[in-house]
Symmetry: none
Subunit: 409 residues, 2 copies
């Protein structure tokens, strides 16, 4: 039997709400390939996590991959850390951090240290520390942001943030959030780490240099959003499919890494509206030759929505349509199923994610076509997938490629 | 108030995937009655167990009858045993068995004993044995197949198969699959039983006779697929409906028996494409006079699918359409609701069950008709039932016949 393959194409922030003219970027965009796929495929609308749930990209992608986020999602920290390339392990506790600027009394002057960029040098004086027998793994993740992982015995993620989330106040003392010895120990270690970070960063040459230029120093790190790294069954073990991930943003890379999808790097894939669309499309076509399953995330539409930029969202969607045209023209149509959907809606009017369902199409040889011939928010709900939840996508695909296990006789 | 009744008509293996011309057997079949029912009734698509789940006929029928298979389905053994007429009881452990041929060193020469047929005589030397205080109930279930039930204290279904599932190797020693004394005891009993079966069968006159004819003897029994018989609330207790079952195959009879549906025998009902269709239709018409609920299963379409026989599947569906025509013409249309659906799809291209949803129609006096006027995979999804799960069918029917209990005031 031929090995049939799957491309899960996720348009981040796909759906929208109608503007005053009743239009959405997806409705207005010129998307002949998506419309053709809707005509040939089976359509519906989907909520990745559940109806009425406004998900993050992380929880939505987990759900789409068939991992219950209520079970596996322990906070953003672990997924960010994995996304920046830290080899996180179950039991690690991971945090997001900012490099910030404080005065000598630890009063926060700027939570982003003047949007400091030269943090690659600064991370080195934190990364590799050992505090009370716990290993500190620390990596900047683009400018003033960083990921922190604590690795060792007896840790907990039940601790408060060191980041006070505002300026003009002192750095928060990290406190245990339950009465366990693990939470107390973790809070102690973080408080020590925050103090040590100041000692090591305040007079660091990079910061001295910034001060000379009149810039704010990144002289402390402020952890927040801690989460225990969960054990997640690897994608291959769960589905017996060799899988890979193509994505521009750290968070999605982190999701892929956590479920052990191989990462396919694409030059110029940035997670912005000016990403290298065709480079990603070529990477899909190339990598589907070597894998059973490719998840590709294109982030630009979501970015445009966060900026409230309707026109850019239209353009991103038209670029994505050309990606799909290229993919369809360069795969064996008998051997590949393609799902196109979003992780969540991001209405322009909201400038953030919403719980509105997103259009979905499953395209491939043996799906049952329906009457839908437009891929937008006002057409796909009439299709054969009706209103579906993200958790059903992988089981449906496994069944279509005849790799589903029978339940019963 | 008139007593309103229900016919649950299950077309085994109903749904399919489109062939290269975009057709399915159901779409091509000439089914004026089904189409008329679709027009007058309320339609949808259904997954008996859940979306994306590829069910067996057993788990699917349980779900359609409103019994959660994840709670009640303990393996095929119990349902097969019930289907061949063994009065199984909760706590019994039931197995499927083959009569097989072994040499004097218990090496398996043929797992089906040359497809031996004369096993009715052979079952008698096993049935009724007592081993370590446990009663052995044993019945052939057609040729080389048999059902085995162990009844007594301290048994477990956590044991491995005695059937090695291949030839040229020794009969497997049954092993406990957990550390409980019950599993060890059950394994011991099965190992003794396998040995005793050889002692009693090897020189049995039936087998001596076969050897003289150059045929392989059925000189051992090989148990597999053990399951503990669950307690299942009888259908009448659950729904207060007097129910009966019409089916040609042992497995479906077993399901009916387990939930204590009366069995209505029909001469020539074989569970094959050449079953006695009209005999079954007449049995439905006759028995609905005496029962509130009739479940009828017609297996032929599934059999045709397993054989990859598109044309036969079309013909089976056309025969089923005539059954429904007869039923409609011979019941009081004011007094009967009819559900027509499948337990699962069985696409010709797969030659096995799939998770594709099946069409469903609920027909009867007070349903809300929708716009669907064709009973097939490409029309029914547009109907008023949308995409529904099997567990909702019985509650909807109970409500339609005004026997649903109000929840709240």
């Amino acid at each position: 039997m031929i090995s049939v393959k799957i491309i899960l194409f996720i348009i981040d922030g796909l759906g929208d709400r109608p503007n005053s003219k009743g239009n959405t970027p997806l409705k207005e965009a010129n998307t002949p390939t998506l419309d053709g796929m809707a005509k040939e495929g089976i359509c519906g609308i989907m909520n990745a996590v559940d109806i009425g749930v406004r998900p993050g990209s992380d929880t939505a992608h987990l759900a789409l991959l068939g991992y219950d986020p209520y079970k596996y999602y322990t906070g953003r920290g672990p997924f960010e850390a994995a996304g920046v390339g830290i080899e996180v392990k179950p039991g690690d506790v991971a945090f997001r951090c900012n490099f910030a600027t404080v005065d000598e009394n630890f009063k926060v002057l700027d939570r982003r240290a003047g949007r400091i960029k030269e943090t690659k040098e600064l991370e080195k004086v934190i990364d590799g520390l050992e505090i009370d027998g716990v290993k500190v793994i620390f990596k900047e993740s683009g400018g003033y942001r960083a990921a922190l992982v604590l690795r060792g015995e007896g840790l907990s993620d039940k601790v408060s943030d060191g980041d006070p989330h505002k300026v003009g106040v002192k750095v928060s003392e990290v406190k245990p959030l339950d009465s366990s010895p693990e939470a107390k120990r973790t809070a102690d270690i973080l408080n020590k780490l925050i103090k040590i970070s100041y000692e090591r960063l305040n007079n660091h040459p990079v910061n001295e240099d910034r001060r000379k230029k009149g810039l704010l120093p990144g002289n402390i790190i402020l952890p927040r959003g801690g989460g225990m790294v969960p054990y997640i069954e690897p994608f291959y073990e769960r589905y017996k499919l060799r899988g890979a991930c193509i994505a521009g943003t750290g968070l999605i890379k982190g999701i892929g890494k956590m479920v052990e999808l191989d990462f396919i790097p694409v030059e110029g894939a940035t997670g912005t509206p000016s990403t290298n669309y065709m480079g990603k499309a070529r990477a899909v076509v190339e990598s589907i030759k070597n894998y059973d399953f490719i998840m590709v995330n294109v982030k630009g539409a979501d970015e445009a929505s966060h900026d409230g930029d309707y026109e850019t969202k239209v353009k991103v969607l038209e670029n994505i349509d050309r990606m799909l045209e290229y993919i369809l023209n360069n795969i064996d149509r008998e051997e590949v199923y393609i799902v196109v959907t979003g992780d969540h809606s991001s209405p322009i009017e909201v400038r953030d994610h919403s719980a509105d369902p997103v259009p979905i199409v499953i395209w491939g040889k043996s799906v049952r076509p329906d009457d839908v011939d437009r891929f937008d928010e006002f057409s796909t709900y009439k299709g054969g997938l009706c209103w579906i939840k993200g958790k059903y996508i992988m089981p449906i695909l496994l069944d279509l490629i005849n790799k589903s296990e029978k339940y019963g006789a």
